[in-house]
């Protein structure tokens, strides 16, 4: 038991790695989501095709395959990444592909009449997007982004398979070193759940702040 409490420190280190992965992965995912999501709505065929290929590829092949590819195959092509970089890259690109569809859907969910109002007011495409469509779409995206972030948090557990010392991995280590299975797994389940709660709480309060006075926006 005393030994176990000592190993708790190890698990907390893992939690730090998990949080780091989740944060950095989310940032990458967010960037990719907007690039690809708006790319899919572009007037230019090439951009649309690129965005579609990215989205379908990363949603189509499993995150595991992507992770192993980034970790083991990319270096053979001369691109070597640290496990953390590999993890962030695979997670960010994967979740980014899902979130891109959220961005696209949210932009499209802004009614056609809003686009028409922009035309009637002679706003340019980008002006309308920037000042009218995106601010409304953002509010629609937010809750789903929250879910995406939780999916990303959960997906970080698979990086343990490429030896990145995240929460799940440290639980495995502790288990090997102490011979106790129940404790480490129960502990990390609770930690994951608390982290997920923090994300959804954060997104909800962000949503509340943004939604002030906007009863009309949500569909």
């Amino acid at each position: 038991m005393t030994q176990w409490s000592g190993y708790l420190g190890l698990i907390l280190q893992g939690a730090l790695v998990t949080i780091e992965l989740t944060l950095m992965g989310s940032v990458l995912a967010l960037i990719m989501a907007f690039l690809a999501g708006m790319g899919r709505l572009s007037r230019y065929f090439v951009l649309r095709a690129l965005a579609t290929a990215y989205i379908e590829f990363f949603r189509g092949t499993s995150i595991f395959v992507q992770l192993f590819w980034v970790y083991f195959v990319l270096p053979l092509a001369g691109i070597s990444l640290t496990p953390l970089q590999a993890g962030v890259l695979a997670l960010g690109l994967n979740v980014g592909a899902y979130a891109a569809e959220v961005v696209r859907g949210a932009i499209q969910s802004v009614g056609r009449e809003q686009y028409e109002a922009c035309i009637a007011l002679n706003l340019g495409r980008w002006q309308g997007m920037r000042h009218v469509i995106l601010p409304q779409a953002l509010l629609v995206m937010l809750p789903t982004f929250g879910n995406n972030a939780i999916e990303l948090l959960k997906a970080t557990s698979v990086v343990s398979l490429i030896s990145l010392a995240d929460l799940t991995f440290q639980a495995q280590v502790v288990r090997s070193q102490t011979g106790n299975t129940l404790m480490p797994f129960t502990t990390i389940l609770i930690i994951y759940f608390v982290l997920a709660l923090i994300i959804s709480w954060g997104v909800r309060s962000l949503e509340r702040r943004m939604a002030r006075g906007l009863d009309g926006v949500r569909v």
């Binding site: 009449e113 809003q114 035309i119 002679n122 706003l123 495409r125 000042h131 006075g213 009309g216």
Partner: protein, 261 residues
């Protein structure tokens, strides 16, 4: 006699296999107030949307203020208009929608100032001053800081009118601007429009089912049916002595439907 400000020449428009406008022609004089009436689906909204460049046309020509709308002359050739030409032409036209289409995430003031600031580079202070005058005119000055969601339908529509006016268009298009309002709120919007008709020399095209208002408001009434203008004339002629059978039938139905107390 001055040149017409709108000249529609044999335009046609189909949605898929369905022909909505069929070789439609019409002319509107500067300052004229026109009412477009007719049964549902006859193409009234479509012609307004075409003038606002919200729909493309399949054939024909439109001239606004002497310039081609959907075409541009380059080296003596008529080319399809590009986005820049359309943007230039749109400066002459404003539109008010049935469902207001206010920007829900911006307050009343920002709704009105957004377009002048972005499209004409008007400074914020100047834009707000002008917006205040317009809001004053539509009786919404005290709600300048309110969000659209806090307004009643009639108030929203008045803001939408102010917003369209802020770009000082020469032509204003109104598509059933009161039909989404509760009966009690209709009057406040119609009052604004009466004032507008009386005080400005803007050209106005109005689609409406409010026959009483059309009668008082319009210099000329066009009766649409199946994508064509079946009959046109002074309000009194059309409403009291329609010549065409379709017009008579339509007016009878509207009256029978209880649109009087």
């Amino acid at each position: 006699m001055p040149a017409p400000i709108i000249k529609v020449d044999a335009i046609s428009k189909s949605f898929g296999a369905f022909k909505v406008l069929d070789g439609l022609s019409m002319q509107v004089m500067p300052g004229e107030k026109l009412a477009l009436i007719g049964p549902s689906g006859s193409g009234k909204t479509t012609i307004l949307r075409i003038l606002m460049t919200l729909e493309k046309i399949d054939g024909g020509h439109i001239q606004i203020d002497g310039e081609q709308l959907y075409h541009m002359e380059r080296n003596g050739q008529l080319l399809a208009a590009d986005e820049r030409h359309l943007a230039k032409m749109r400066q002459k036209i404003g539109m008010v929608f049935q469902l207001f289409n206010l920007f829900p995430h911006k307050c009343v003031m920002d709704n009105v100032t957004l377009a002048p600031m972005l499209t004409k580079g008007v400074a914020r202070a100047a834009a707000e001053k002008r917006a205040m005058e317009l809001l004053e005119m539509v009786g919404m000055a005290d709600k300048a800081k309110a969000m659209p969601a806090q307004l009643s339908g009639g108030q929203k529509q008045r803001v939408a009118i102010a917003r369209a006016l802020a770009l000082s268009p020469k032509i204003m298009l109104f598509d059933e601007v009161t039909s989404a309002l509760d009966p009690e709120l209709v009057e406040e919007v119609l009052n604004v429009m009466r004032k507008l008709a009386a005080e400005t020399d803007m050209t106005m095209l109005l689609v409406t089912h409010e026959m009483g208002f059309a009668h008082d408001f319009a210099d000329r009434v066009l009766f649409f049916d199946r994508g064509r203008i079946v009959e046109e004339g002074k309000p009194d002629e059309i409403f009291r002595h329609p010549k065409q059978e379709r017009t008579q039938g339509f007016l009878k139905k509207i009256i029978a439907a209880g649109h009087r107390v």
